[in-house]
Symmetry: C2
Subunit: 305 residues, 2 copies
C-alpha cells in the first residue's frame, strides 16, 4: 500500500496547510505512513508562519491517482479538492465546514464540528486519542486558529477555539497577540501580487441550482488601498468569468483591523448579491462582515434559492 | 426553541431505533431538550428488544417542519430520512454509513466511523464526553450491535464492535449469546407479514446515474421458507416498481445461521445484478453474503458505473 496523502483545500490558507501537517504528525504518531501535501502556492501569511516556526513547506500535489488513499482536512466539497478526488479512496475527513457535494462509496471516518478552525478539532482529537502535542504541532495549530478567527474577532470564533489557542500558545511558547498580529499583517501585504493572483489567493467555488459562484477573499488593513486597483481587478475577474464560465464572482476585501468587508461583484448573476443591497460601481460595503463561511456564503446560498 | 428531534432511517431496524433512544438520553444528560422518534413501524426483532428491556416505543414522526432542529443517527442520505428533511436544520449526525446525497447550508457536528454499528460509536462518545452509560442504555446498544453484526458474524463487524458489545452486556447484565440469538430469531418470524410488508420491512433506496434502486433485506433461518412465497413477493415488488418508478429492486433474503443470501431481483435494470452472476428464475444465490452495506450495495454501486 502506498503512502496516504493528507491535504486541505485548493487556494490553501493557513488552517489548511497547518492542519494537514499536524494531521500527518498525528497519523505518524499512530504508526501510519502518511505525507502532508498542498494543492497550491502558499499565501504570505502561511509563509510567515512556517518560516517563523521553522517548518518545511509540504510538496505540491497536482492530482491524485485512482484508488490513492487520502485524508482530507479543512474541506470536503470535491470542487475545492484535488483533481482526481472522485476516484480516490477517502478514508478520513476532519473539517469545520458545511457538508456539500461530497460522497463516498464506502463508510469512512468523518469528524466535523461547527468550530472556528480545523486545528481546534485536531487538538481535541489529540486529547481523545492520547497523542502528544509537540511545540511544533502547537505552533502550527495556533497559527491556524489565529488565521481562521482573525485573532478571535470573526463570528466563526467559539469559546472552544479561544481556549484551545491559549493552551496551544503556552505549549508553543508564543505570545499569541504579538505573533498573531504579525502573522495576519504579513498576509495583508498584497503589493507584489498581480490582479490575477489576488483574485485567486483564497478563492472558493460553490455551485447551486446550476449557478457557478466563486467567492474570493483578501485580508487587508486598508480596503481603499486594495480598491485603488479596482479596474485591474475587474479585468482579471472578467477574464476568469469568461474562461471558467462563472455566473457570479465575489471578491471580499476584508479589513481585519475594523472587521468590515467590501465586496467587488461581477458576473451575469450579480443580482444574487443585489438582493442584499444595491451595488454601486460593482461594490457593496458590508459592515461587521468578515467571515465567508458564516456570513457571505449563507447570504449567497439563501439568495440563490 | 422547540424540542430537538432524534431519529434514524425509514424502515427502522434495531440499530436505528435503539441508537435514537440512546442518543436522546445522551443529549438529555447534557441538559438538552430532545425526543427520540421513529420514522416507521418497528420490526419484530426491535419489538422483542424493547419489550425485553422494558423500554417504551418512540412516537411515530411523519414529517418535520421547516427549521426544526434534528439529530440524525444511523443514516445521512436524505431519501432514507424523514419527509421534509431538506428544510430542517440538521445540527448533528452520528452514523456508520457512507456519505451520499447529504448536504447542509451550515457547518454541523458530524461524526462517522467505519464500524459495524452506530451504537458502538455512541458508546465511544459516551466515554469521550464522560456520559454515564445506564443499564438501559447498555441494553439498547447491545441489541443494536447484535442486530447490525448478526451476532458478530457479519463482515461489517469490527473488533471494536465486539469489545464494546462485551462491555455493554456486562453493564446491562445480559448473556449476549443467548439474548442475541433469541432477539435475531424473533426478527425472522415472517409468517404474519403480507408480501407488501415483507419487501418494505427493511428497504433502502439509493440512486446513481439516474437509476433508482431499492435494496430490501429480510433475515431468516430458512431461505427456502421465504421463497415458498416467491410468486406473491414478485407481485408485490412489481406493483412497487410501477408505483414508485423503480428501475431495480433487490430483495436480499439472508440466512443468519449459515451466513448466505439469496437475492430476488426485478426491474428493467436487473442487468446491473446480472453482471455479478446469471439470474435463474429472477434469483441469485450469494454464498457468504450477509451485509447490504459492505457487500450488496458496493456490488450494485460498482456495476452502475
Amino acid at each position: 500500500m502506498s503512502k496516504k496523502l493528507v491535504f486541505g483545500h485548493k487556494s490553501p490558507d493557513t488552517d489548511t496547510i497547518c492542519s494537514a501537517i499536524v494531521m500527518a504528525e498525528m497519523q505518524k504518531a499512530k504508526g501510519e505512513d502518511v505525507e502532508a501535501v498542498r494543492l497550491g502556492e502558499l499565501n504570505k501569511e502561511t509563509k510567515y508562519a512556517l518560516e517563523y516556526l521553522k517548518v518545511e513547506t509540504p510538496r505540491l500535489l497536482e492530482k491524485v491517482e485512482e484508488g490513492q488513499e487520502v485524508i482530507l482536512v479543512d474541506h470536503n466539497e470535491f470542487q475545492q479538492s484535488v483533481d482526481g478526488i472522485e476516484a480516490a479512496k477517502i478514508i478520513t475527513v476532519v473539517d469545520h465546514h458545511r457538508i456539500n457535494n461530497f460522497a463516498t462509496a464506502e463508510p469512512l471516518y468523518y469528524h466535523a464540528e461547527p468550530l472556528g478552525c480545523t486545528a481546534t478539532i485536531l487538538y481535541k482529537l489529540c486529547q481523545i486519542e492520547n497523542i502528544e502535542v509537540t511545540p511544533k504541532m502547537a505552533g502550527l495549530m495556533v497559527s491556524a486558529i489565529v488565521s481562521d478567527t482573525l485573532l478571535f474577532k470573526s463570528p466563526t470564533c467559539t469559546n472552544t477555539d479561544k481556549e484551545v489557542a491559549t493552551k496551544l500558545a503556552e505549549i508553543a511558547g508564543l505570545n499569541i497577540e504579538e505573533y498573531g498580529l504579525n502573522m495576519l499583517k504579513a498576509g495583508t501585504d498584497l503589493d507584489d501580487f498581480t490582479a490575477e493572483e489576488l483574485i485567486s489567493l483564497d478563492a472558493k467555488e460553490v455551485s447551486k441550482n446550476d449557478v457557478k459562484v466563486v467567492i474570493a477573499q483578501v485580508n487587508t488593513v486598508s480596503i481603499e488601498d486594495v480598491f485603488k486597483r479596482q479596474k485591474e481587478l475587474e479585468e482579471a475577474i472578467n477574464t476568469k468569468i469568461e474562461k471558467d464560465n462563472i455566473q457570479l464572482f465575489v471578491l471580499a476585501v476584508t479589513d481585519i483591523l475594523n472587521s468590515n468587508s467590501e465586496l467587488l461583484v461581477l458576473g451575469n448573476r450579480s443580482d444574487v448579491v443585489e438582493k442584499q443591497g444595491k451595488l454601486e460601481n460593482n461594490r457593496l460595503f458590508m459592515p461587521g462582515v468578515v467571515s465567508r463561511k458564516k456570513q457571505i456564503l449563507p447570504m449567497i446560498d439563501k439568495n440563490l434559492d
